[in-house]
């Protein structure tokens, strides 16, 4: 291949395309992310439950925000990751990118599910209803169904390369849902309140409340990285099982 002349992406991008190299580097990154994630989640949970102040209106029940918001953020971030990996898989025909997209889907689905469940549990005492068909809740439910659709489509197709292509196109079409989730609370009247956090404004929450939330969000990201890499490494081994390096690796143990 003569792509040495015009390389659009940095060098590591092309190195990642090698399953063997990818397996090696994720093996090195894995302990880093799992340990940091575990530490952050422990710290964040203890801080959020014991030391963060309660809310003046909702009392202690507002503490569910420390699970609800990180899982909702992650559900959307993982979806974008999955769609982008799918796009890279289509454009560069990169097997590793297909596998990343495949590894993302169930993790993202569980995050979307967690966000919906914690939202319902929170909604009952504060709003007075488990579920309301407002734009924010509905678009989040569609995100969960998109994840299910991607997983089902992948499982229904036989050949991994064809399955990856089909699911990548589905997840790229579904990408339109992400800005709808984000702006639903601004475009339409919803029962769900607007975002407490934005990149441009001061958070509508004092620092002793949002700092543990930030810790939880970072912890959730590390958890996702860990879970995704574990699934990715499994997938690499099972797809490359006929190659010499995998045979060597397996027989060595």
């Amino acid at each position: 291949m003569n792509m040495q002349k015009k390389q659009l992406m940095p060098k590591w991008f092309y190195q990642m395309a090698s399953p063997k190299w990818c397996y090696k580097i994720t093996g090195k990154l894995l302990p880093l992310f799992s340990c940091t994630g575990l530490a952050l989640l422990l710290l964040g949970t203890v801080w959020a439950l014991l030391y963060a102040p309660e809310d003046y209106q909702q009392g202690n029940s507002f503490r569910i925000i420390y699970i609800h918001v990180p899982s909702a953020i992650l559900a959307q971030s993982i979806y974008v990751t999955m769609a982008l990996a799918g796009a890279v898989g289509i454009i560069w025909k990169m097997k590793i990118a297909d596998m990343v997209a495949y590894a993302c889907a169930p993790v993202g689905a569980s995050m979307a599910f967690l966000a919906l469940i914690t939202g319902a549990i929170w909604g009952k005492p504060t709003w007075g209803s488990w579920w309301v068909w407002d734009a924010r809740l509905t678009s989040m439910l569609i995100l969960l169904f998109l994840y299910f659709g991607v997983m089902a489509l992948y499982a229904a197709m036989g050949k991994p390369s064809r399955a990856a292509r089909a699911t990548a196109i589905l997840s790229l079409v579904g990408l339109v849902n992400i800005p709808i989730i984000k702006y639903s609370v601004e475009w339409w009247n919803t029962l769900h309140q607007p975002a407490t956090f934005s990149l441009t404004e001061k958070p509508a929450m004092p620092v002793q409340m949002w700092l543990p939330l930030l810790v939880m969000v970072l912890g959730f990201y590390c958890f996702f990285a860990t879970a995704m890499m574990l699934r990715l490494r499994n997938e690499i081994l099972s797809r490359e099982k006929r190659t010499n390096w995998v045979k060597e690796l397996v027989t060595k143990v």
Binding site: Q58, I65, G128, V173, N177, I180, T190, L191, P206
Partner: protein, 161 residues
């Protein structure tokens, strides 16, 4: 980039763009048709934007000092306001924890002939602001209401919309 990859990149961008256009037009049509918003404001109801003689949701603030409870039953009467129009709401049932004067609520029900909103369900809509009780107390003592300046900002936004 090889021409082949460029083609595939174009395909990907086309798929995304097509999705955005299709969903955007669809949402626009639904919003113009039945409406995506979960509730109507008192202003919209006064303007006749909300369908009459059917169950709708009305949302706004509970006006300060407007809540009247019937001592013998669960019936409660309050005024829903968006700082432009007022709507009297009558509801019989248990109110959510966050229901109080100055709080945003969404009521589901129907307008009767007198223009009174007969609610069958009242949901509390809370805002995006959180603070510890001590801070809320301090603000109250300082002579500002619990939302501080934010409340005035909100009121300003409501009027300017």
């Amino acid at each position: 980039m090889t021409p082949k990859r460029k083609n595939r990149l174009m395909l990907v961008l086309f798929v995304i763009l097509g999705g955005v256009v299709a969903v955007g037009l669809g949402l626009y049509a639904i919003d113009k048709g039945v409406g995506i918003s979960v509730f109507y404001s008192p202003q919209q109801i006064a303007d006749g934007e909300a369908p009459a003689a059917t169950r709708i949701r009305a949302g706004g603030m509970v006006q300060q000092g407007s809540v009247k409870r019937d001592p013998n039953s669960l019936q409660v009467e309050f005024v829903l306001t968006d700082f432009k129009q007022n709507l009297t709401v009558i509801y019989k049932g248990i109110l959510p924890d966050l229901f109080r004067e100055g709080q945003g609520v969404v009521a589901q029900g129907q307008l009767d002939k007198q223009g009174v909103f007969q609610a069958v369900e009242v949901l509390a809509k809370h805002d995006e602001k959180y603070m510890p009780p001590e801070v809320a107390d301090a603000l109250e003592k300082a002579g500002v209401d619990a939302d501080g300046q934010q409340l005035e900002n909100n009121a300003g936004q409501e009027v300017s919309q």
